[in-house]
Amino acid sequence: MKILVTVKRIPDPDEPLKFSGGVLDTSAVKWVPNTFDEYAMETALRLAEHVGGSQRLAEVIVMSICPAGQRQHVTQFLAMGGDRAVVVDHDDRALDAQTVAEAIAAVWKRESCDLLIAGKLAQDMEGNEVAQRAAALLGLPQATFAATVAWDREAGSLTVGREVDDGVESKKIPLPAVVSVDLRVVLPHSVKNGATPDDHAYQEGPRLASLRGITMAKRKKVDVVSLADLGVEAKNTSPIVHAEPPPPRPPGQIVESVDELVEKLATEAKVL
């Protein structure tokens, strides 16, 4: 089985953003992997590895669209345990979601994949549409916002638990398929592959790279392709016309007494 994991680099959400001339100043940005993609990677690795055994049940291919010289995040996913990578050499910020989905579909076909695992959204734009568009383009069944994934290898299907407003929806989909994951998929017992003992408790959250993983990552195969190689036209039907930071919030006040607090709540905040 081949699992394709799509990953994206985003500006570090814990750092303040800088803007100049109505656009985000990316020169000052520290790029980090999208957290939901780390969850996707962890899900793929848990499906692929047989804890307690030696056989690997799937190949995990990391895919990202980024300038080829700025693929540190791809190395990081390989250090976590991905087997190899495909990098589409293009500025992903200049592409719309449909083009990204077309590139993913093209790589899927080139690699003859069986399962696409994606984060439910990227934290920078919060689009939440690429996995769904890719499923539509490929004509595949999809299960979005996965909180649990169980793989039935004999039946060739996945049972995916999806957290919805009124409970957990359990969905069985035949492979090949598209799954997008939500954060609870990285709880210790969320992913089962039928080989690793069902009671095996994984660490909470995506795994950290081991020393060995980091040294191996540099030697893993990375195919660099262009959108033209994939037969995909670069489009951007939803360009960002202007970006600016939100107005600063007024600072908080420290009051000296309860009476003053009550007075301010009544006269300034007008909530009493």
Partner: protein, 486 residues
């Protein structure tokens, strides 16, 4: 109501009465004086565990330098003792009020006054938290390098009084290295403006340095000017598993040999990690294999990106693994992962706290570390065999926090603990170490100070105390071995 006490006699002051509270209230305003039982209990204690109970006489929260002066004069005149009080995160009882003293809290003097990016200094009121100072510095592209888990609560004045250390002493030194100046209200309400913000000032005795680590016995720090540093371009953080502290120290030597700029080199044992994970409801360690001892390594790198720093650290760790110094390692690849690894180390003290550990904070020459741990374990066996030993600390500085936990459903006998302490501090002294690395002396280690300080030194310390504080009003019963108490 003239008070006849002196520093030599060191008697605790009397407990304030209603007329005293009224006089203090006239200075700071009635809302800033409290004799409320909840306030007295809260402000009378710090994070230390010891054979005393919080018993403050009053809590006073002045807002200005002039109010602090007036409070000091009032207390001297009325024969009241003062416990200067910051964030009360100290671990030796230095901020404890157990004899009816007046707690003078700097809680209302929290302003960060000025950052000077050229001089690389920050001026702040003593009640500003260390985190607030750091945040103000970062807004100017600088940072305050004294860093420890309690920095969100600990106040600058308290860190000066205790010469706080923390996790980056190995690179940047303790608080002492960063105090460029301070304003002290000392005996008689005199105001001393010491140091005044200059790096270079060779004009005789560095009096501000006497105040650093004096544990509030010389006066109340009301304002400080602190040095700031330029943040490193890139850092890498890894956690390694090792068989022993000796193995970790071999790695430390290897990092120096590889010309790595180590900005932190911490250790914690397997049981500490277990406590942290348990407190979070997590079960799995961050490494694929478990180890008896873990080290957290942080290096600084002058390269353009964190990736270069990670590469540099990876190379040394790979060599260390081949040499058998470490069993396993994991590396942070993102700032978020670095914070997650750091939190494993920084959460140790908090995770152990609910079990009320008996603490020691010792430094040793690194080469004596292995010997010390073996003999310390033997001392536990001999004196408190039911106690559970937990070791963590700042290994790069030779600073270990030795924590002894009582059994889950019991207590450790005070007499046994006293015998253990005496033997432990004797051992530390024999091996050329110090009985307090960074926590200070306070109430907890006062009986053992003479193991580290000669009678001549102690006599000089008393003379200095008397010169600053002839009435003996500031923090009596702390630090100096025979200085009163109740």
């Amino acid at each position: 109501m003239r008070n006849e006490r002196s520093a030599e006699e060191g008697h605790p002051g009397r407990r304030p009465g209603s007329d005293d509270l009224e006089a203090l209230g006239a200075i700071v305003g009635p809302g800033a004086v409290s004799a409320d039982a909840g306030d007295l209990a809260a402000y009378g204690a710090d994070r230390a565990v010891g054979p005393w109970s919080a018993d403050a006489g009053a809590v006073v929260r002045p807002k200005t330098l002039d109010e602090v002066r007036a409070v000091v004069r009032c207390c001297e005149r009325r024969g009241l003792s003062i416990v200067p009080s910051g964030g009360r995160t100290g671990l030796v009882g230095g901020a404890v009020a157990s004899c009816g003293e007046v707690v003078v809290s700097l809680d209302r003097m929290r302003a960060v006054l000025d950052v000077d990016p050229l001089a690389r200094t920050v001026r702040c009121e003593a009640g500003a938290t260390v985190a607030a100072v750091d945040e103000a510095a970062r807004a100017h592209g600088l940072f305050y390098p004294v860093d420890f888990a309690a920095k969100g609560t600990a106040q600058v004045g308290g860190t000066i009084a205790t010469n706080a250390g923390g996790v980056r002493v190995v690179r940047y030194g303790p608080t002492r290295s960063w105090v460029r100046g301070l304003v002290l209200v000392t005996g008689g309400g005199r105001v001393l403006r010491l140091g005044r913000g200059l790096v270079k000032d060779n004009t005789g005795y560095a009096l501000e340095q006497l105040v650093v680590g004096a544990e509030g016995t010389l006066g109340i720090v009301v304002e400080a000017t602190l040095g700031l540093a330029v943040p490193p371009r890139a850092v890498a953080v890894g956690v390694v598993g090792a068989a022993s502290v000796e193995s970790l120290l071999a790695l430390y030597g290897r990092l120096s040999g590889a010309r790595c700029t180590v900005s932190a080199f911490e250790c914690f044992d397997d049981a500490c990690l277990d406590a942290v994970l348990r407190a979070r409801g997590e079960t799995r360690p961050p490494l694929q294999t478990t180890a008896p001892m873990y080290g957290l390594v942080e290096i600084e790198h002058d390269g353009e990106s964190d990736e270069a720093a990670v590469d540099a650290l990876t190379e040394v760790l790979c060599q260390a693994q081949e040499a058998g110094e470490i069993l396993d390692a994991t590396m942070a690849q993102t700032p978020a992962q670095a914070r997650a690894l750091w939190s494993l180390r920084e959460s140790v003290s908090e995770a152990l706290h609910p079990r009320r550990p008996h603490k020691a904070d010792v430094t040793l020459p690194q080469r004596a570390m292995g010997d010390f741990l073996a003999r310390a374990r033997a001392l536990v066996e001999r004196h408190v065999p039911e106690g559970e030993l937990r070791i963590f600390g700042h290994l790069g500085d030779g600073n270990l926090h030795v924590n002894l936990l009582p059994p889950r459903d019991g207590q450790l006998a005070a007499a046994a603990l006293a015998a253990f302490d005496e033997a432990l501090y004797g051992l530390v002294s024999d091996l050329g170490g110090s009985l307090s690395a960074e926590h200070g002396v306070g109430l907890l280690k006062r009986p053992y100070l003479s193991l580290r300080r000669t009678p001549e030194e102690l006599a000089l310390m008393r003379a200095i105390k008397a010169a600053f504080d002839p009435a003996g009003v500031f923090n009596p019963g702390k630090l100096l071995p025979d200085d009163g108490g109740c």
